[in-house]
């Protein structure tokens, strides 16, 4: 019974989060509650190369602060103001050699449910980014099925893998858990869309996360 009440409360909190993070309201620090971020653009496709026919993007990361639940300006990329950054399917942490050489990091926790992940195991290894390695190494593993997504060659669709949680160490050395929910505009995968629609609608992240401001690795 108690569990049900908790779940109801959680749903209420989540819906509060949904409203709280609409664009006008960003910047509100939501302490250890679930926040949902919708349609975060991550180097979206802006056109098409007329000669090769390949889609073209600006090649820019979108930087995000999990602590303050807001987008961080690109001019602050070399600072500790951001925690994660998105471009296409690549996700940076503020660590290693990524822009600001911060003290953050992270890893993809496989085979776990976001809701039941209440404590990050003590022996977890937090990886860091290494953009100078070849191939580049990221704390949040990249590549089809290896990190957070699956790419289907038949449908050309990217779907976030279920049961995988991104555990992030923020730029200030605190912890957050994050689940990618969708990669397409409006949070809806365009299954029956045309190839053009699939390109135009991709690279819009929908994710939920919980930030723990007290520095522990527990999420309650």
């Amino acid at each position: 019974m108690r569990k049900i009440i908790n779940q109801v409360a959680l749903v209420l909190v989540i819906s509060a989060g949904l409203f709280a993070c609409s664009k006008e309201d960003t910047g509100v620090v939501l302490v250890n509650t679930d926040n949902v971020v919708n349609d975060l653009r991550a180097d979206t496709i802006i056109g098409k190369d007329l000669i090769t026919g390949m889609p073209v993007s600006a090649g820019k990361y979108t930087f995000y602060s999990l602590e303050r639940n807001e987008i961080v300006a690109n001019s602050d990329s070399a600072s500790a103001k951001w925690d994660v950054a998105f471009a296409g399917t690549t996700i940076l942490t503020n660590s290693g050699t990524s822009y600001s050489n911060g003290i953050g990091g992270g890893f993809v926790y496989k085979g776990v449910l976001y809701d039941t992940l209440s404590k990050v195991p003590a022996d977890s290894v937090f990886r860091t980014d290494n953009a100078s390695a070849s191939p580049k190494i990221y704390a949040i593993t990249t590549g089809n099925t290896k990190g957070w997504y699956n790419y289907d060659f038949a449908t050309s669709l990217v779907t976030p893998l279920a049961g995988r949680v991104l555990v992030v160490k923020t730029a200030s050395g605190k912890y957050a858990k994050l689940e990618i929910l969708n990669y397409y505009k409006g949070g809806v995968t365009p299954i029956s869309g045309t190839e053009e629609e699939k390109l135009a609608k991709q690279r819009y992240y929908k994710f939920r996360y919980k930030f723990q401001p007290n520095g522990t690795k527990t999420f309650q």
Partner: protein
């Protein structure tokens, strides 16, 4: 969805139990039908121990079927697939696992395992026999799910027969058949020309574009009766096909047009020498050669032509001897050798043919210990040069309880040899992330060489497990109960299960320095298909028959089921949040419908008039994995279940003229993404003329 299937189940019994009939037609017209495919020797249908369906020439004509696809799609237990032409799934098993024969000789030329059934014109066909269940004990590789054998007419004596058909999308089908018969010589020729402006409802283009197709095919058959006991049969078949593809893709106001052309030619040439030593002993020698040649070219606006070739040459010699030891014991023995080779643009060099040779021997014994019981045991051994050898045993029995009831049970092992693609593919897709796929015969060598050149970033555990591929194996059990209480009623219930192991699957074995994936093939999969098939036929009145068929199918990947049971498979709920997948939401192997129903009404009278109405239903099937795991479950993308209606009426006049009109997909059901081979409603009209022998 559930509601639809339930209501159909309610309708079905009306078709089946209310009143039924179909094959009766055959039985009444020709007496007890003869089957050759089940035993590799002529047997009465009523004495066959395995599940067999016969579709005769008259049924083919009355539904107005032109291509093999048209007739197979209306059979219980069979499902058509799209992609690389139209393939057929038998009891839930992919098109790779059903061997397609013409007069007992295999057709070749498969793309991604699919043999396009539209290649086969249904002109002078006497009948089609479908045997369900592993039949490798007689037919070797590919006969894992079953056998479809197309038997051309070798009997009629109508000197000239012509027909002309016109239909939607400017579809024109014209054919002429000729026959000549003397005491010692028989000739039969068939010529067919088919063309259509096509309908290609391509999902990724701005407009509906058409795919014009031109196909010419001819069959020739000569038979010489050298003596009363010796005959020579020579057969030749040739098909030439041209498909034009104009693909325009527009994006942001810019339209890119590509012109594609596909040119396919294939021929078969066979000669068979039959000799009868006595009533108890006969033998035949067969020599066969077939060649399939495909050339695909694509010219894009940037002017870079892209050409893809595939050529498959297959040669076989074979001997089979039938020995009637006594009234209750019959044996057959056979042995043969195959040489085959494939050239493809997708191998390391398109100029070098990759070869394989197979030698095989088989025997089958039919024992009738007493009147009611027939037991058949058989075994075949295939020795392959480029991959592991295979044994294929089979045991089946028929028990006639009484006049009305028959029980058939068969247990057999089937296999499918690794195909050339799985052995020799050498393909890098520059258009999609530059990933590569290497066939297992050379993957280790190629990747090691690349590694020495410093191009390999990482090698997976799978790489070290690469070895000579084994054939894929299935074990099939079929239990059939035939009930024929009176000459007007026939009911058949069949339960089946196929367990497949050693499935060859594409696996990532490593990655380039750039991160692009490298794939190869490994024998790792385990799967099953199981279900129930129901067939019923009833003669309502003279010439009026009603029939129905139903299939319930359940499939699954055994490794996926094991993973789901351990709780390591996740899916997503309506909010997109992860949840653990439970077995009850597991959807099994993709592209399989749980329920399939066919209902047909046929009428004909002695004036030559005929009419029929056919309704086909297929329940939803999983097509794309979209909810964040690698298994198919209820949260994934399904194609909707649908019903299609078909009808035809016609009349054959006594002076040799005949007319027919028909409509297919009357409800105009269209699913652009999942049923690209199903156009909207189409209509046709046919006139034909036969010069009859005046006696």
């Amino acid at each position: 969805m559930k509601k639809i299937s339930i209501s159909l189940l309610l309708v079905l019994p009306i078709c089946i139990f209310g009143q039924i009939k179909v094959m009766k037609d055959t039985l009444q017209m020709d007496g007890d039908s003869v089957v050759v495919t089940a035993n590799r020797s002529e047997r009465k249908l009523s004495n066959v121990t395995v599940p067999v369906t016969i579709i005769n020439n008259k049924q083919i004509q009355q539904i107005g079927a032109l291509r093999l696809t048209d007739v197979l799609k209306e059979q219980p237990g069979l499902t058509m697939t799209s992609g690389f032409g139209v393939g057929v799934k038998l009891q839930g098993l992919s098109p790779d696992y059903t061997i397609i024969l013409i007069n007992g000789e295999p057709l070749v030329g498969r793309t991604a395992g699919v043999l396009d059934l539209n290649r086969i014109a249904l002109g002078n066909i006497k009948k089609i026999e479908i045997v369900k269940g592993p039949s490798s004990s007689l037919y070797g590789s590919e006969a894992m799910a079953g056998v479809i054998n197309i038997i051309t007419d070798g009997s009629y004596s109508i000197p000239v027969q012509t027909s002309l058909r016109y239909g939607t999308y400017k579809t024109i089908d014209a054919s002429i058949s000729t026959a000549l018969k003397t005491k010692s010589f028989f000739y039969q020729g068939f010529y067919n020309n088919y063309s259509t402006d096509g309908y290609s409802i391509r999902p990724f283009t701005a407009s509906r574009v058409t795919t014009p197709i031109k196909r010419f095919s001819t069959n020739q058959q000569f038979k010489f009766n050298i003596s009363d006991n010796t005959s020579l049969v020579i057969g030749a078949r040739f098909t030439d096909e041209l498909i034009k593809n104009e693909i325009s893709v527009s994006n942001g106001g810019v339209t890119v047009t590509s012109n594609g052309e596909e040119h396919i030619t294939d021929y078969n040439f066979s000669s068979t020498l039959n000799h009868r030593f006595s009533n108890a002993l006969k033998t035949n020698f067969r020599a066969y050669q077939t060649n399939y040649d495909l050339k695909q070219s694509l010219l894009t606006v940037s002017g870079q032509p892209y050409v893809d070739i595939l050529n498959h040459l297959f040669r076989r010699i074979e001997n089979q001897t039938d020995w009637v030891v006594s009234k209750s014991l019959i044996g057959i023995f056979g042995a043969g050798a195959v040489w085959e080779g494939v050239k493809s643009s997708r191998y390391d060099s398109e100029k070098v043919r990759k070869n394989n040779a197979i030698q095989y021997g088989f025997t089958q014994w039919e024992y009738l210990p007493f009147n009611k019981l027939t037991i058949i045991g058989g075994i075949r051994f295939d020795r392959n040069e480029t991959f592991a050898s295979a044994w294929s045993p089979k045991l089946s029995l028929l028990y006639k309880l009484n006049k009305a009831n028959k029980i058939k049970l068969s247990v057999g092992q089937g296999f499918k040899a690794p195909d050339f693609r799985q052995l020799y593919l050498d393909f890098t897709n520059a258009a999609a992330g530059s990933y590569s796929v290497y066939g297992s015969a050379q993957a280790q060598k190629v990747i090691s060489n690349l590694n020495a050149l410093g191009q390999i970033g990482s090698l997976y555990d799978n790489f070290y497990q690469l070895k000579a591929l084994q054939p894929e194996y299935s074990t099939g059990i079929h239990l059939t109960w035939d009930y024929e209480p009176n000459p007007k009623t026939f009911i058949s219930v069949q339960a089946f299960r196929n367990d497949i192991k050693n499935l060859i699957e594409v696996q990532q074995v490593g990655a380039y320095v750039t991160g692009a994936q490298i794939y190869s093939y490994l024998n790792i999969g385990r799967a099953f298909t199981t279900g129930i098939e129901l067939e019923a036929k009833y003669q309502l009145a003279k010439g009026l028959m009603i029939s129905g068929g139903y299939q319930y199918l359940k499939t699954g990947d055994k490794d996926e089921i094991a993973e789901i049971k351990t709780g390591t498979v996740f899916s997503r709920d309506a909010n997109g949040y992860s949840q653990r997948l439970s077995l009850k939401n597991y959807a099994g192997l993709p592209n399989n419908s749980k329920h399939k129903v066919q209902c047909k009404i046929n009428y004909y009278n002695t004036n030559g008039f005929f009419a029929n109405l056919r309704a086909l239903y297929r329940s939803k099937w999983a097509v794309n994995n979209t909810n964040g795991n690698s298994v198919f479950d209820e949260g994934d993308d399904f194609a909707k279940g649908y019903i299609s209606l078909h009808a035809s009426i016609g009349k054959d006049y006594k002076n040799g003229f005949g007319v027919q009109i028909g409509a297919d997909n009357i409800g105009n059901y269209i699913d652009m993404l999942n049923l690209p081979n199903l156009p909207g409603s189409t209509f046709f009209g046919t006139i034909k003329y036969q010069i009859l022998n005046k006696k």
